[in-house]
């Protein structure tokens, strides 16, 4: 009997713009995906319940223009319009992935404690590929990933911590030899501890600045014309298959 597909909700709001790629990544990982505007989950047009999904994905973009700080205004909506279902979802241990603006949104809900993202130390938006090292975290998204090459595209990715941090750094920007203390340009934004990805202590909530959904095909790699293509899948897909497998096998 074919197993029932894992259901993923990809959240959308005005200014989210990496939703199509994220939907594709989850589908390629074997999930059944619904893309929903936040107004379809909360308010008078609501037709969707967070409770009906096993995984929540929050894609990148410039939600509401990133005014008042990247991700802030969607976080504000989650806090005031989706508070209880969101809390329930997280507490039940179902995986939550925030990529780029999605990470900024998760951080600004306070989910990771006193964690925020500031404008890049370089003072400008940057789009390029960087390398990251797994710190050995228990994140369900990072299983089997040691080091990974992924694109970034952001202007506010500089992770900063306050006093009460409820998360751990699970991915660190690193230099070509794996040096996780390497500075700019290896650490593209000046994040403390070279933090590029953050996990909740449970390992089920994960936010990162790079875009794994932009590397799910070998032809998205910047050097594909220089290499013999062995695997047609890109390494970024692993984040998504990991979460789908975790739900299928362990929840």
């Amino acid at each position: 009997m074919p197993q029932k597909k894992v259901k993923v909700l990809v959240l959308r709001a005005a200014g989210i713009n990496c939703d199509a790629e994220m939907v594709e990544a989850w589908e390629k990982a074997g999930a059944e995906v619904d893309l929903r505007h936040i107004n379809e989950i909360a308010g008078p047009h609501a037709n969707t319940r967070l409770d009906d999904y096993a995984i929540l994905g929050v894609p990148g973009g410039f939600a509401y223009g990133d005014y008042l700080g990247a991700g802030k205004l969607v976080a504000n909506e989650i806090i005031y319009r989706l508070k209880e279902p969101f809390q329930r979802f997280v507490e039940s241990g179902r995986p939550v992935l925030g990529v780029c603006n999605g990470f900024q949104i998760l951080a600004k809900t306070g989910l990771f404690g006193d964690v925020t993202l500031l404008p890049n130390e370089s003072g400008k938006f940057e789009c390029r590929w960087i390398t990251m090292q797994n710190t050995g975290s228990n994140s369900v998204f990072l299983r089997g990933i040691e080091q990974i090459y992924l694109p970034i595209a952001h202007g506010e990715g500089r992770v900063a911590f306050g006093t009460d941090v409820k998360a751990e750094v699970s991915l660190k920007y690193c230099g070509p030899d794996g040096d996780t203390a390497a500075s700019y340009p290896w650490n593209p934004n000046g994040s403390v501890q070279n933090a590029g990805g953050i996990s909740s202590p449970s390992g089920t909530v994960f936010g990162l600045m790079p875009h794994p959904e932009r590397f799910i095909s070998a032809y998205q790699h910047p050097h594909w014309t220089r290499q013999k293509i062995k695997e047609v899948e890109g390494a970024g897909l692993k984040f998504f298959t990991n979460a789908v497998e975790y739900v299928s096998n362990e929840i």
């Binding site: 200014g15 790629e21 005031y80 032809y219 220089r226």
Partner: protein, 1004 residues
């Protein structure tokens, strides 16, 4: 009652440090530090009790405005706040904000955020009317810096006078009343008087009065046009209302109706001695020279050419792709960020207006030379550096926020663009076949969606038809109109509108759509109702603030608006979708079937025009064009023993036009949507200059789209005809270099020229257009869309001199690629591989970068041999498709020497090649090392081939001109053997790379 919140960062934020760097340079030793604090103004209902408001301000600051991990805040009633500020021993202070009425997207977003908090009911928050964002700058300066100096700094670096305002105080001079007045002005600016409609006494006006009406109203209509209007009103026996006259001025503007490209032209060619060579009458540059070849070529894959907002071709059996490129030159000259921002926003809407999803953008900029000394910049002209930074920022902001990758472009610097920068933006779209309806019916509703209408962008269409500086700017500032011609963008408003549009399209809810661009609603609705007639109630248009006159509502170019025809039966469903996506929707009226444009305000008719007169009443123009080539000056000959080619190559690589644009490319998200298969920067370190972008827009298909461009105004200084031919060739060869064939390739033209009323200028333009006809036909490639921007001239108020830009033609190409996995990049791949030069080199150094090094233009202008070029393009494509090519790069600025250098450093490998092997055609005496190294003959490629593919490659290229000229080396070495077998150029590839990478990094 007004309240405020100031945010106090606890860590250094680098956005402030750019201002600090500028302040340090400006004030010199007087400067100590600069701090930038966000500042918000909150307006509650006047009846809100103070303690409730104060509590709400505190909650808003803590929960919404401040990032409490890294910021603290303070605030309260503004009056008290400013008095406290005056009592503190603060350093110099600058308060800056958008001018009243100018869009404040941040403030609007903050208000939405507040309303979400309030609606939750958990915080018991009172009603808030408005939030405006502002900024406070604190500068520690040595004592004695004058207020005027501080104000000058603010105007130069912190604000743009046209759309922003500021107050400055040196220490100890803060006046709370002035601060209060300033912030109160943010909220109380709209005119309270009731809207009025004026009648213009035109019916019986004398000719000079007609001209005066046009000039003073910034209508940009000439006497013949004013007289045509007069004749119409004599016929209907009344005078026009201001609404009607404005409608005519917008619809008949050069910008909207392209009078020059429609005119009948008497064209005369002279030889260099002034003897007439040839006289002809051209029946419309557009119709007879651009559109006619397209129809003649009869390509069955063209879906729409010239009639829609973008050109459309068939992508595969299920999808079409569209492409449009436009300029936004005048606005970018005055307010670079806003001009470029809304330029890109506008071209994106053109693609939305053919019901397509935008999938990529391109941008090409022309600026004055970087680091132009201030004394060489005319008054009222911004420095090229400031324009450059503002324009790049504007494109970055809009493109990134829309989630559209910016994948291809160019940046040129030339002093001819000092007062008139050019900003070209292009957008490519993808749509399912037959998804775009053009089927409005009588009874369909006229629906406007998206942003609200304000006094921004009034007279943009007519303003762009007048030269900058001089009369227009003076008249503009006198009437406050120069400020209002600048538009301000809000990309998120447009993104919402796009999300909605795609859903409404798939549900087939609308019967026609267009965007609001130049001329605003007047153009959009006027065109949409041209056949049927339309009735519009202007008082329904949602406004940003009260006080707009009916004519202002009608012609405002406020951004992010689309107009749709929606059948009444679909209206409820359409409204529901709008609500879900958070897009404002308004029903303005209906398509009537009476052939009239009827404009109402509160039910009263304020304008009525026959659609026939509006769209066909414009008197045809007859214009004179003259072309005489510049007298030839022999190019300077190098002495035989000259050995300076290494330094020449280094200097060309570090010419800002040739140098790496990485600093700009990386601030654009060029990978969003995940379809950018060949990125703008390629090679082992992701920093080589790719020839063209390749997109793979569908996830389940390997079919791709190639996007490229060609532009070289320097050739135009010699002959615009060959400039145009070379631009076409360059756009094609850039696409061919990555693997495109000519089988399904289409072209776009964008002409930017000076005043076409000057016969010599129109002659240059005509010559360029003639080449477009000749080469479109010769290459068998159709133009499918295009645009012109004329009157790019500046009148210096001080000297009275008029300066026109160099006539500039941008050719954009896009081509369907059967299989993206066959694409190649320009970076060298492997030591030991062979280097082939494909195509014939001629001694064509006219307009070249080699000539530019010597301060010259003269010499033979490069010319395109289409028969040879076609053979090369086809054969090379066969070789690429057959997998025989490891890398391929086109030869353009700087010729062979530059192409080889770029391939080498992009691949991190060395090269050695021999000029004696370069296939040459031309006089024997002109066959010099310089010509072979630096000639810019078109239709040439440098190709890397593995030794195992040598025979196959040579077979594929049979019948074309090509030769193996060298090989790829492991070493960091660049060596060229010259004609006398001596080494004529030798350096390290790393040295070349450094020369190429350094210039623009410093400029940025």
């Amino acid at each position: 009652m007004l309240y405020c919140v100031e945010l106090l960062p606890q860590v250094t934020i680098n956005t402030a440090s750019r201002f600090a760097d500028e302040a340090a340079a400006f004030f010199g030793e007087s400067f100590n530090s600069l701090k930038h604090h966000a500042f918000y103004l909150l307006q509650f209902d006047p009846n809100t009790p103070a303690e409730i408001a104060e509590r709400a301000v505190e909650i808003t600051a803590r929960r919404l405005l401040a990032d409490t991990v890294t910021q603290t805040y303070r605030g309260g009633p503004v009056e008290k706040f400013f008095h406290n500020l005056a009592a503190e021993t603060v350093p110099a202070l600058i308060l800056a904000a958008n001018r009243p009425g100018v869009t404040d997207a941040e403030g609007e977003s903050a208000l939405q955020g507040y309303r979400v908090m309030a609606a939750s009911g958990e915080l018991d928050l009172p009603e808030l009317q408005m939030i405006r964002s502002a900024a406070l700058y604190y500068l520690e300066l040595a004592p004695g810096v004058a207020t005027e100096k501080l104000a000058e700094f603010a105007r130069l670096f912190l604000i743009n006078d046209l759309v922003q305002d500021c107050l400055v105080f040196v220490p100890g001079t803060i006046k709370p009343e002035r601060l209060l007045n300033f912030v109160n002005g943010q909220f109380n600016f709209s005119k309270d008087k009731p809207p009025t409609v004026k009648t213009i006494p035109l019916k019986d006006a004398a000719p000079e009065e007609l001209e005066k009406i046009s000039r003073e109203g910034l209508l940009a209509l000439n006497l013949a046009e004013m007289q045509a209007i007069q004749a119409y009103y004599r016929g209907v026996q009344r005078d026009p209302t201001d609404v009607e006259l404005e409608t005519l001025a917008q619809t008949w503007s050069e910008h909207c109706v392209h009078k020059t490209f429609k005119a009948t032209i008497d064209y005369t060619e002279y030889d260099t001695d002034g003897q007439v060579l040839n006289e002809s009458v051209i029946n419309g540059l557009f119709k007879s020279l651009i559109a006619a070849p397209t129809y003649q070529l009869k390509k069955d894959w063209i879906v729409s050419a010239f009639v829609d907002n973008a050109g459309i071709i068939s992508f595969d059996e299920n999808y079409d792709v569209s492409f449009k490129a436009e300029t936004h030159n005048h606005p970018s000259a005055l307010e670079p960020f806003g001009g470029a921002n809304t330029g890109l926003g506008g071209v994106i809407r053109d693609v939305m207006a053919v019901s397509a999803k935008p999938i990529a953008s391109t941008d090409v900029f022309c600026f004055g030379e970087p680091n132009t000394p201030a004394e060489n910049i005319p008054a009222d002209v911004l420095s090229p550096t400031r324009i450059f930074q503002g324009v790049v920022d504007g494109v970055r902001d809009y493109g990134n926020k829309m989630g559209i990758p910016t994948v291809n472009g160019a940046i040129l610097f030339d002093q001819g663009y000092l007062a008139n920068p050019l900003v070209f933006c292009g957008t490519v779209g993808l749509a399912p076949k037959n998804a775009h309806p053009r089927n409005q019916q009588i009874g369909d509703r006229v629906i406007v969606i998206g942003g609200r209408t304000g006094r921004d962008g009034i007279h943009g269409a007519t303003f762009s038809s007048i030269e900058l500086g001089g009369d227009a700017q003076a008249a503009g500032s006198a009437t406050g109109q120069a400020a209002s011609v600048v538009q301000i963008g809000n990309p998120i408003e447009e993104k919402k509108t796009l999300d909605l549009m795609l859903k409404a399209r798939d549900l087939k809810l609308y019967s026609a759509v267009t965007d609001c661009g130049a001329g605003g609603l007047s153009s959009a609705i006027g065109e949409m109702g041209a056949d049927l007639g339309v009735r519009v109630e202007l008082s329904e248009v949602p406004l940003k603030y009260a006080g707009l006159e009916p004519w202002e509502i009608w012609v405002s170019e406020a951004q992010e608006r689309m107009v749709l025809a929606v059948p009444p039966a679909n209206l409820a469903e359409f409204r529901r979708l709008c609500e879900l996506e958070g897009v404002e929707v308004t029903d303005l009226g209906e398509f009537t079937g009476d052939g009239q444009l009827t404009l109402l305000y509160n039910g009263e008719t304020v304008g009525q025009l026959s659609m026939n007169f509006l769209h066909h009443g414009l008197p045809p123009r007859r214009m004179t064009a003259k072309w005489q080539p510049p007298a030839p000056k022999p190019a300077e000959r190098r002495p035989q023993s000259y050995q300076g080619y290494t330094s020449d190559l280094l200097r060309i690589l570090s010419d800002p036009n040739v140098a790496s644009k990485e600093a700009v490319i990386r601030v654009y998200d060029h990978e969003v949507q995940g379809a950018t298969i060949l990125k703008p920067l390629v090679g082992v370190a992701n920093d080589g200059p790719g020839d063209a972008a390749v997109l793979k827009p569908l996830t389940d298909s390997n079919r791709g789209l190639v996007i490229s461009n060609g532009i070289n105004p320097r050739y135009g200084l010699l002959d615009p005809y060959h400039m145009a031919a070379c631009a076409i060739d360059e756009a094609i060869r850039n696409a061919v270099a990555v693997g495109a064939s000519l089988d399904r390739m289409a072209l776009l033209d964008n002409f930017c020229w000076g005043n076409p009323a000057v016969p010599e200028r129109l002659g240059e333009l005509t010559r360029a257009v003639l080449a477009c006809r000749d080469y479109a036909l010769a290459f068998g490639l159709p133009f499918i869309s295009g645009k012109d921007s004329l009157n790019n001239e500046f009148k210096d108020m001080a000297s009275g001199k008029r300066v026109a830009i160099p006539g500039t033609l941008l050719i954009s190409a896009f081509a369907v690629l059967e299989d993206v996995t066959k694409a190649v990049t320009m970076d060298l791949k492997e030591a030991g591989n062979l280097l082939y030069l494909v195509g014939k080199t001629k001694p064509e150094l006219g307009g070249s970068y080699f000539a530019k090094l010597r301060g010259q233009v003269d010499g033979e202008v490069p010319q395109v041999d289409t028969a040879a070029a076609l053979r090369t393009f086809k054969s090379l494509n066969r070789a690429i498709q057959g997998g025989m090519v490891r890398s391929c790069h086109d030869l353009s600025e700087g010729g062979l020497a530059v192409a080889a250098a770029e391939m080498a450093f992009a691949g991190g490998l060395g090269v050695r090649y021999d000029l004696t092997h370069v296939p040459y055609s031309g006089a024997k005496t002109d066959r010099t090392n310089a010509a072979l190294l630096f000639s810019e003959s078109p239709s040439r490629f440098l190709v890397e081939v593995g030794p195992d593919q040598k025979a196959a490659f040579e077979k594929a290229l049979q019948g074309t001109t090509f030769a193996q000229i060298g090989q790829v080396l492991e070493e960091d070495e660049y060596t060229v053997t010259g004609l006398t077998t001596a080494t004529v150029l030798r350096t390290h590839v790393s040295t070349l790379k450094k020369a190429w990478q350094t210039p623009l990094v410093e400029f940025e």
